[in-house]
Symmetry: C2
Subunit: 351 residues, 2 copies
């Protein structure tokens, strides 16, 4: 079927070693020979067999990417960043998504072993011990937003807690005293961290124990929609809500609109993630911006660096800052931001 290096060698009247040297650009080869080899390669449409290559070089030039079952912008943005960084370094991506539970993640992890040179793992809903038990200690892994602490692995996290704190303080700064919180799923690391930030900020503001103002959600618009009814029924009614992500905040806005509750007049709303659609809501949604693509790209860079360092690499931990984006839904007094001031991203091809 496909041509081998031997046939190329014969066609170019050289040895296989020379063909290999030309292809890998190492070792001295005369210009004229090199040209002849390249011509043969083109003529025969030769492509090196990656298996054979990795068999002897002990490298696959592939990176495994393990992502959870997340929807929407988050997934694509993360992949985008990772892909960009990987491609630049000549690595390919072996992707495995949708790992709701532990067993699936384990299976995926196992099947990747031996196929990849390193691993990017994002697994916010798998607990730390399980994770580290299944991770091949000793080879390059970087953890994204995982509930693993300790120095065993490289990791990068978003500053969920800090972002949440900032949002709550922003609301408090606008005069709100009773600030409710719609939480994310209990088994999700990001959600827990954001909740912790909320509690800390409320406590710091003298709000006392805020547990009674927490409404459970699961990151869906739907759950935000339902949470709105709960909040409306609270006595005394909160004057502000911080939702653990934008999807739920959008659900809130939808429900409030239906119920005739005015935002931010009757109740102020803040979200988290600053998804692109946030600024196009009515009213535009205040949120906490995090650059997922950058998170992914950064992770891949760190992984590649670890790959280069080999055994001399020392794992380290990094936290990416967030940025508060105040818009009308929180009743911010800032100028109404016009859509044309959108920050970094300009093109969106989303048929």
């Amino acid at each position: 079927m496909s041509a081998t290096i031997r046939e190329v060698a014969r066609d170019a009247r050289v040895s296989v070693a020379t063909v290999s040297r030309v292809l890998n650009g190492k070792g001295p080869v005369r210009e004229v020979t090199s040209r002849r080899v390249r011509a043969a390669v083109d003529r025969l449409r030769y492509v090196p067999h990656s298996g054979a290559r990795s068999l002897i070089t002990r490298r696959t030039n592939a990176i495994g990417v393990l992502l959870p079952d997340l929807f929407g912008e988050f997934f694509s943005e993360a992949i985008r960043g990772i892909d960009r960084a990987a491609r630049g370094a000549g690595y390919q991506l072996l992707v495995s998504g949708s790992h709701g539970d532990r067993a699936q993640a384990e299976t995926a992890l196992r099947s990747m072993r031996g196929r990849v040179d390193g691993l990017v793992v994002m697994s916010p809903n798998v607990d730390g011990p399980t994770l580290s038990a299944n991770l091949p200690e000793g080879w390059p892994v970087i953890l994204l937003n995982c509930a693993v602490d300790g120095a065993a692995f490289d990791s990068i996290n978003i500053d969920n807690e800090g972002g949440a704190t900032a949002m709550v303080k922003h609301l408090a700064g606008l005069g709100h005293r009773r600030i409710a919180h719609v939480t994310g799923p209990a088994d999700n690391w990001d959600a827990r961290e954001r909740c912790r930030g909320y509690r800390r900020a409320v406590l710091a503001g003298g709000g006392g124990d805020a547990r009674e103002l927490e409404v459970p959600g699961d990151f869906t618009e739907e759950s935000g929609y339902r949470a709105a009814r709960v909040v409306i029924g609270m006595r005394p009614r909160p004057t502000a809500i911080f939702a653990a992500n934008d999807s739920m905040a959008i659900g809130l806005l939808s429900a409030f609109q239906e119920q005739g509750v005015r935002v931010p007049g009757d109740i102020a709303v803040g979200g988290f993630d600053d998804i692109p659609i946030a600024r196009f809501m009515t009213p535009p949604l205040s949120s906490v911006a995090v650059s997922i693509a950058d998170l992914g790209a950064r992770a891949m860079q760190r992984l590649l660096a670890a790959l280069r360092d080999g055994r001399r690499h020392v794992p380290c931990h990094e936290t990416l800052p967030t940025r508060l984006v105040a818009r009308r839904s929180s009743g911010s007094r800032t100028l109404k931001p016009t859509p044309s001031t959108r920050h970094s991203r300009t093109r969106r091809k989303d048929p």
Copy 2:
């Protein structure tokens, strides 16, 4: 470093052939031997070297996935569907995203050759001839929403034209005579098909040449926002707009809200894609639903079938239907759909 089949064989006091037989489940092996081998495998944490394996079996158990530079729900949904189907069959996914231009797509295609058993290609903004020139004719490929016709390759498309026609007819059925259209990028296949559907429906409804009512967009909310101003300035002003995707429709809603134009009272709005957020807009957005995940899963199933059939496979073409979802933004008289009636998807983990 990692154990080899030979060490496992030694540890279990059998030959490498027996180990291989146990691992692949082919050939007769006594139960007691099999157990001993499996114990050794576990003890040594043996994982077969995929390169060596694919070297001799001539199969990689990996499928290449080539996706364009698309953002948002679309990308994640497509991958999700593909991943689900692939995993079930024991295949892994070599993903390459973000291919704005032709050169990048070519590079990605080349680097995948030899690493995968088959290819899923979604490339709405690469022209047909270029694509087919770079595709390895003769081995399993399936095209998603590509501008390639002819019988050379398997393909699956969304019924963009039919969906667009349905939306325009829906609007016309509500009494609208001047229906504007915000188009997608000119180089995008989906966008062109949707535009064609718009024109056909307008023509069929006796609307004459509708070119003057077409406003260029690029699938971003931003471009929808800008298009709104153009439409507002038209004389006589259209009473309805069909945006080529939901993102732009959301941009329209945002702009109209700001300008005090009421939807659907002053102007009716329809989108395309039915992204999850559509029903949570104010007013809830009418749209054309397409199941991207199903599209991806279906594509992978077809590819796997082709893989099984081998050389006896005959390429075929398939078009997936769309479904009109009428909500308040078009002024539909249907009951206000409550969020709890969301169709298939229930869970969304989108931190």
